[in-house]
Symmetry: C2
Subunit: 352 residues, 2 copies
């Protein structure tokens, strides 16, 4: 099959990889229809996080092409959304609601597992990993939002949930990438009354506004902190959502958090230091991480299918598998927020 191949930092191409086959009775083979590029893929692309050479990509939707003998809840032809990690659904960690930390699980597109940026993927623990998308004839817009549930929308939701966002609250979002924008959407959906988005980029500000941001802070660093404090009577926000993963973004999140508040953090950390004095002396908690997407998708999918939320809006660049390199460079150069990759032409029947 054709698939994106990670050849090393700043080198993504397309090549041939073996067609995936069922190796365990709980596997399914999914023919990928739509995939996208994650902010964490950019860390790999930039050489800032290690990644195996070969398959890459962990955000995709597709159609079940084959199932193993123990797969019960899925059938060939089902349209499915795949959380970015697979999970057995039965270990104590899964049962506690943390499928992304499944003790028998893992991620797609690395360490010998097929990547979502390719024509097909062997999905382990298919019944407890994949989620069937009900209905048919979904619009392209809906499908893009279903695709967003594979990671970015759930990751933004995890930032908001981890930050304890609830009705009437004042929330700050650090980061105007796809995850930060998704966190704005999630905060709005969870009832936040005021959502302050930190962004210096007009096109991202526009999406933030569409998603529910009530205020935009264009400053950076200390000036951004001062601006948020000034807008909140010096108190700061009840939930600060950290959606970048750098030392500065974490420092900003803690600095704008109100005493007794929370930092909901989902940025993959690079040189991040947690200000423990703020944790202890101002009672600002920290929670977040690799989103338990398999837990969240059942909650979010109905809102996507009903058009109540449109998380696919962050996908503002589009190409096909042969254009994968451009999908990365558009994000690397910040020309796009997030890149969509059309993969399966043969899957058009399920697409309007």
């Amino acid at each position: 099959m054709r698939a994106a191949i990670f050849n090393g930092p700043h080198d993504i191409g397309v090549g041939e990889r073996p067609d995936p086959v069922i190796t365990h009775p709980t596997d399914a083979i999914v023919r990928v229809t739509l995939a996208c590029v994650c902010g964490s893929d950019l860390w790999y692309y930039r050489g800032l996080s290690p990644h195996d050479l070969g398959a890459i990509g962990h955000e995709f939707i597709g159609v079940v092409d084959e199932i193993g003998s123990d797969v019960r809840d899925l059938a060939v032809g089902d349209l499915v959304v795949t959380p970015f990690t697979y999970s057995d659904g039965t270990c104590p960690i899964c049962l506690a609601g943390w499928p992304s930390n499944c003790i028998n699980g893992g991620g797609f597109g690395n360490h010998g597992i097929d990547g979502g940026q390719g024509e097909a993927v062997r999905v382990p623990f298919a019944d407890t990993t994949l989620l069937k998308v009900p209905g048919s004839g979904h619009s392209q817009e809906t499908l893009r939002s279903v695709l967003a549930l594979s990671d970015v929308a759930c990751t933004g939701h995890h930032a908001a949930v981890s930050g304890g966002v609830g009705p009437g609250m004042t929330v700050g979002v650090v980061g105007d990438g796809a995850v930060g924008l998704s966190a704005v959407l999630a905060a709005k959906r969870l009832g936040a009354a005021r959502i302050i988005a930190l962004s210096g980029n007009p096109s991202r500000q526009a999406v933030a506004r569409e998603f529910g941001a009530t205020d935009i802070v264009t400053e950076r660093g200390d000036a951004a902190i001062e601006a948020v404090l000034a807008m909140t009577s010096g108190l700061g926000v009840e939930a600060a959502l950290e959606c970048v993963g750098t030392g500065q973004s974490m420092a900003t999140a803690f600095a704008i958090a109100r005493s007794g508040g929370m930092v909901g953090a989902v940025g993959a950390p690079h040189d991040v230091e947690v200000p423990i004095d703020t944790v202890i002396f101002r009672n600002v908690g920290l929670r977040g991480g690799v989103a338990p997407a398999r837990r969240y998708i059942p909650e979010l999918l109905p809102d996507v299918l009903a058009g109540r939320i449109n998380p696919g809006r962050v996908l503002d660049f589009e190409t096909d598998l042969e254009g994968i390199a451009e999908a990365y460079t558009a994000m690397d150069e910040r020309r796009s927020i997030k890149s969509l990759v059309r993969v399966g032409g043969s899957m058009t029947p399920v697409v309007d």
Copy 2:
């Protein structure tokens, strides 16, 4: 009046300080009956945290001796317990449930505020700081436990609440000082099914058992981590309560925390680093800090008065104000868990 005087590291004595007087109409003067020495006082005593010379101590109970003209809910003669911080009860942070972070509040025994280790204390915002202890003729044992509510019992409770402890959970407690033991008690009270206390000290192990610990780990460092993991099928504990404040104790707490779990931390931090990779990649949250004692005491006091919990059990050394130096050295040399200081002889009517 007579009061403990902090003369610098390793030098606590008793001397004369001005009798406190009402300076604001919301003040009350409390005649101290019982005080105790906090683990954080030890940081000052050891020169590891800065402290003004002069008054010291923030854990005390006593009797209202005088009230300002705006005090409504208290009367002269009331037996009261004092949270270790004063708070106005009306600022947004107080209203959100974080009185220990009151924007107009502060702590006792430092920065010009009277210390609890003395005969009397001017208490700001008396109505919203002090809590009247109902009833009369309380036993010495009960009064010691009421005294424990001024800080240590609430701090242990805060560790457990911050760690999300609930019915049936498996909890680990790092630290066998008075706070760690109080955290064991709090975890038991909140319904934890299994409470693993880390302690190498037989007398503290005994208190931990009394308070509800089901398992004792006597190892330290990596061996302690291995032991806890071995006891929990390799998963770790759902809530790890950090009750020390050192780098090693925080590292241990995160290492024994189950993926998706929480670290509830209340140790005053000294050279503490938060393992951000554990936060993000294992979804282990961190919450805790300076306990909102004024919020917790109304919940805990009835249990103390009814004898359902006995947090004063951690007070295993007793002296009077003239013996204050010995109260500190007994703790400094780990001869005692926590020292009680009898102060107000004239207050005996309220004591059996």
